[in-house]
Symmetry: C2
Subunit: 366 residues, 2 copies
Amino acid sequence: MCANLPLDQILQGDCVEILERLPEKSVDLIFADPPYNLQLQKELWRPNQTRVDAVDDDWDHYDSLEAYDAFCRQWIAACRRVLKDTGTLWVIGSYHNIFRIGALLQDLGFWFLNDVIWIKTNPMPNFRGVRFTNAHETLLWVSKFKGARYTFNHHALKALNDDLQMRSDWLLPICNGPERIRHNGQKAHSTQKPEALLYRVLTAASCPGDVVLDPFFGSGTTGAVAKKLRRHWIGIEREAEYIRVAEERLAQVQPLSEEDAVYALEGRAPAKTRRLPFGRLLEAGLLQPGQSLYYRGERAQAAQVRADGRLMLDGLCASIHGLASQLSGGAPANGWLAWYYEDENQRLCVIDELRQRLLADSHGAA
Amino acid sequence: MCANLPLDQILQGDCVEILERLPEKSVDLIFADPPYNLQLQKELWRPNQTRVDAVDDDWDHYDSLEAYDAFCRQWIAACRRVLKDTGTLWVIGSYHNIFRIGALLQDLGFWFLNDVIWIKTNPMPNFRGVRFTNAHETLLWVSKFKGARYTFNHHALKALNDDLQMRSDWLLPICNGPERIRHNGQKAHSTQKPEALLYRVLTAASCPGDVVLDPFFGSGTTGAVAKKLRRHWIGIEREAEYIRVAEERLAQVQPLSEEDAVYALEGRAPAKTRRLPFGRLLEAGLLQPGQSLYYRGERAQAAQVRADGRLMLDGLCASIHGLASQLSGGAPANGWLAWYYEDENQRLCVIDELRQRLLADSHGAA
DNA sequence: ATGTCAAATGAATCAGTGC
DNA sequence: AGCACTGATTCATTTGACA
């Protein structure tokens, strides 16, 4: 971690200027909730003749699509510079702006990992009945370039989702009730995001101790969740009033215990199996060099174990994973489940059983 | 409708060339399911739609984005020309291409009505657990320009959704089972869309007799649903094999009866009342000039009826609607429901009852 | 305290017809 | 095209008043 990174603070000012003063490749995760450029047309009234308190803040106004594009190109490029090569960027938006931002991200070399849909359980209806209820917002999740390594805590997310793989559609309520910060009954910020949304983002794409940056900090939801989950955070915000709101809020956040933060990361998934190289089976005497392993348990496809832990078959030589992949036509393969050995009773058993036996032995790990 | 519009046919060829031969402003609805960003297919397209044989991987990421943009700009512009000013365009895509298309639509002057998320009940899992399950596709719905009139059958959609306003998130299964067209066990088309999706699109944004065009016709789902719902359809498709599949499919489609098609359109909408000016109540003798009407049934807010059918209160003088609007602080108001008169028993009744009485009298309409 | 009902409200590109 | 006039339209939650 960079020594001169201002951690766990809110930096006041224009996000582009401040980002350009931060060290490059120093941040693990960026969550950006930029102005949406809503361009509201006129007053909107409910059928019960009350007025809708719409977002009409000055910070959301741009003169043209071109002006909005130029603004976004600047802050996205500045984010890219401070992001580690293994870091990822999230952006949230609506149809007013998200297509421009998505295209810009691709133009600037980012690589899409997912677009995630936040489906609101309780959106504002379309009062005039002239369109579909606008019931969602879109989150973009991109890595810095194609092929970049990145963090995705698959098991934590799976656990968060009742042991089903987490999908790209997230059903969550809007920020309301006690969580919504109000002063004298007025919203402290017109677009405060729910903590549940950030909880999911940070759990998925960062680890405890990582640095999470939010260039449009607002009421500080990103910081609040980062602090709770024991991530470092950096907030950038222009408006002094929002900074006061966020600082008061952050002072009240209690971080989870270290164990709980790690537990939140691992979720209820089976304890993460330690990595164990295939060669350990040879070292442990569970397999012998020269012994045959059978692809998918078929005796017709026999490979020989080499002393270095590689397999040979028909002149091919590769790891258990690589050879299985080649035999399957190139699909990624888990060699532990692809290869079978003959046990003392001449029965074929999957080699993963040997790995499990070794892992269960507390002294077995390398 | 244009006399020289080739209705209920599949036109073979490049969609841009064919669109440019069709009459302008002649089509009510376009549904487009364009090829995804060709990064995935490892193909390059020149701006003139000819395919570049990409023999290796050394093509440039940015060149490919630009080529895809050029391709999309052409077909979208061609669609815009044939679309009536009151027509709307739908485009479906995934994160690979939808952001480029959304931005292009805005650049070309289209106006967003909604982005709609098709959430798949049964998506393909992410087998390697390195991302979220990509469980949705995005549909864009745009009118030709800001402020354009367009068709949205609010009541039909509300009826489709158990009398709740239809939202922008649609939960529908992917096309599978008997609906999926197969030849010798092979999918006849790799991206056949479910008819339920098109059913909702056409029900929402077109009327029986309208002309629906699909520039990437494929297996013909758009045509099949259009025929069923008694819309005219035009399909454009390059591949002869897909055309054969679609023609065979369309021959088997039975249109709904006219009544069913109209019922599907109207849903449970209230019968449309004829328009009746307030002055007719005076002419019919149901109200007298000088009589008092009470705003929202409160005797403290009494307006006087003038002989010209306007109301006066506190020096204000306006129509029943205009005065109700002013009294409510500017909200649009339905005067028929806002004003009450005193009946022969000194009870206050809403003046809409008088309108209904006059409308029920078949001779009452102006 | 507890229950019931009315009022308030949330990132919104929010009207249609006829002259 | 522009103007004047008519009149159709909302869901899930939370908050607060009041019994």
